[in-house]
Amino acid sequence: MDSGVGGRGSGVRTGTALVVDRTPDTQPLTPSFRARPQTMAGLAWWRFTRHRMAVVGLLVVAVLGAASALAPWLSPYDADKPQLQIQLRPPSPVHLLGTDDLGRDLLTRILYGGRISLSIGVLAMTLAVLMGTAVGAAAGYYGGAIDNLLMRFTDLMLSIPALFLLILLTLVLRSFPIPFLRGGVLAIVLAIALLSWMTVARLVRASFLSLKEQVFVEAARALGVGNGRIMIRHILPNAASPIIVAATLRVASSIITESGLSFLGFGVQPPTPTWGNMLKNAQDQMITAPWTAIFPGLFIFVTVIAINYVGDGLRDALDPRHLR
């Protein structure tokens, strides 16, 4: 019933929202108490809220993000300073999630770790999406030799095991004196981004290949619009849906990748906490002090699942063909 909605290039741009030309027969057959929004963004949001788990996921991510951002004000403890007289205390009213092997409050470290882990996820995703979109757009729009060159390079990057290349890249990037953020966070973000733009590039290329043949692109070109502007202002907004979904899922996989790197000893270096390196450090005390492993693991788990549900919800909201 939604097949007519948001068809590529069927909308007219007014302000920031796409207004869809809808005929009365595309109205939902099921009665709804809320009127359906008429803008593209409003419609997507309306569909997103139908997906209950996605809304829950969004709330969870928002709460985790806010709690991490406000960590210095929420927690009375120091995240880094060792307090050897209270090592490995189990959860108690004083230390809600217990303390770690150096007597630091676990909840405090998890909140501070969340700042780093979530930032890594979001920053790596942003960089990867920017790179992937640039490569994919150029390849799909210009075609020919450029397309061939860029896509063969993408294939090449995909044929080397990611974790192996990540280790090399992290080692190399670490040897540069990159300022900003302690514990080599930026090097990790760069390394993860440099190795995860390929899937986005393929997605964007595929969309651009079909969109560039559409009449509205021809119209824009006839009006004398330049290539760059056609790509960014005319085609990209129509190719945005799959990019947004892929970007959301990329945040979760970046968090997982960072923890894998941390496990091999190449993640963010202690004492800067991330969920990944906390989990790795807890490895030796997994039996005697299970809370040091369980809670960081639980935060990764909940975050990743919440983000994946948000991604699912966005897919349903942005691409009505998936609604089944």
Binding site: D155, S159, P161, L163
Partner: protein, 341 residues
């Protein structure tokens, strides 16, 4: 078809050059002294860093170093891998069969259980099996694979002592290295049976189960999901309704009519998983101390073992290209609607 295969095979040398150039270029960002540090095994040698740099030509321009490496490669010499303490080509020949064996033991259960669970979930959509398999898949994706590995290690080695890490127990290892034992295929479990030594077979199997179980859990989720959605798609089609209308029994409709067509996208996915496993089992091999190619590759990268890293990268890239080509051919073979050109 033949031209398609030929053209793809022509890509092989290009990929090999591309990967090695990429790795070489990456390593050039390190100073010669950093790269020379690998050759230092004794603190007293630190004074000789300059001599080492000169001896291995580490301060030469990158194209000179790459050319030297290529000349060596032309003679079949991939250089000495410091991490493996053997020539890189020998290291590849030693570690790859172990990974291949592990991959086979992961692949078979992944495909069998994945297909079975995926079909069940599609046939009983929105019932218990469906919800269970979806919950299962989502929770497996929620944690990094090394966490699952540690849990498996803790339960099945730490508590139950069923599945130890490593490749073989001490006595089995000694026997395998003796001249009595012939390495026919280099796959330990197969060789054990060919030599008529069932106890070595059991021992090798016990060491494989740990990493295999971990990766089966992680990889299966994807197969279940794709099988389910592909199966749902097929079950909606007219010919399935026709089959039912003819009065065919439900198992016949599902297994003989529907599943065959639903398998087409799954085949591509499974071959991609197989190829991915061959190069991507770094974490599981590291956790279970399994002497496969992934563990060695990660060690080589950690220690900046340049010949090791380059050889590993090139080898895995070639395996990936050949594997993907095989997947494409397989895809065309099972689906006559697809013609390769």
């Amino acid at each position: 078809m033949t031209t398609f295969v030929a053209r793809r095979l022509l890509l092989l040398p290009l990929v090999a050059f591309g990967v090695t150039i990429l790795i070489f270029a990456l390593l050039q960002f390190l100073t010669p002294a950093q790269r020379a540090a690998l050759f230092v095994t004794d603190p007293r040698q630190l004074s000789q860093i300059d001599a080492i740099i000169r001896k291995y030509g580490l301060d030469k321009p990158v194209h000179v170093q790459y050319w030297t490496w290529l000349k060596q490669l032309a003679q079949g010499d991939l250089g000495w891998s410091q991490t493996a303490r053997m020539p890189t080509s020998t290291a590849l020949a030693t570690f790859f069969p172990a990974t291949l064996e592990l991959t086979i033991y992961i692949f078979i259960p992944v495909v069998l259980i994945g297909l079975w669970l995926g079909t069940k979930a599609a046939v009983r959509k929105d019932q218990f099996v469906d919800h269970f398999s979806r919950f299962f898949a989502i929770s497996l994706r929620g944690l990094p694979s090394f966490v699952w590995g540690l849990i498996v290690l803790m339960v099945f080695y730490g508590w139950l002592n069923w599945f130890p890490p490593g490749r073989l127990s001490l006595d089995a290892d000694l026997f395998v290295k003796s001249p009595e034992f012939h390495r026919y295929t280099r796959l330990m479990t197969v060789d054990a049976l060919l030599n008529g030594q069932p106890w070595i077979f059991v021992d090798a199997l016990r060491h494989i189960v740990g990493p295999a179980m971990t990766l089966v859990l992680v990889e299966m989720a994807l197969i279940v999901r794709i099988t389910r959605s592909s199966m749902l798609e097929v079950l909606r089609q007219d010919y399935v309704r026709t089959a039912r209308a003819k009065g065919l029994a439900e198992p016949v409709v599902i297994n003989r009519h529907a599943r065959k067509n639903a398998l087409i996208p799954v085949v591509t996915l499974t071959s991609l998983i197989f190829v991915g496993l061959l190069g991507g089992v770094v974490l599981a091999e590291t956790i279970f101390n399994y002497p496969g190619i992934g563990k060695w590759g990660a060690e080589a990268a950690v220690q900046l073992d340049i010949p090791g890293v380059t050889g590993f990268g090139m080898f895995i890239a070639l395996v990936t290209v050949v594997g993907n080509l095989a997947a494409d051919i397989l895809y065309a073979a099972i689906d006559p609607r697809i013609r390769l050109q």
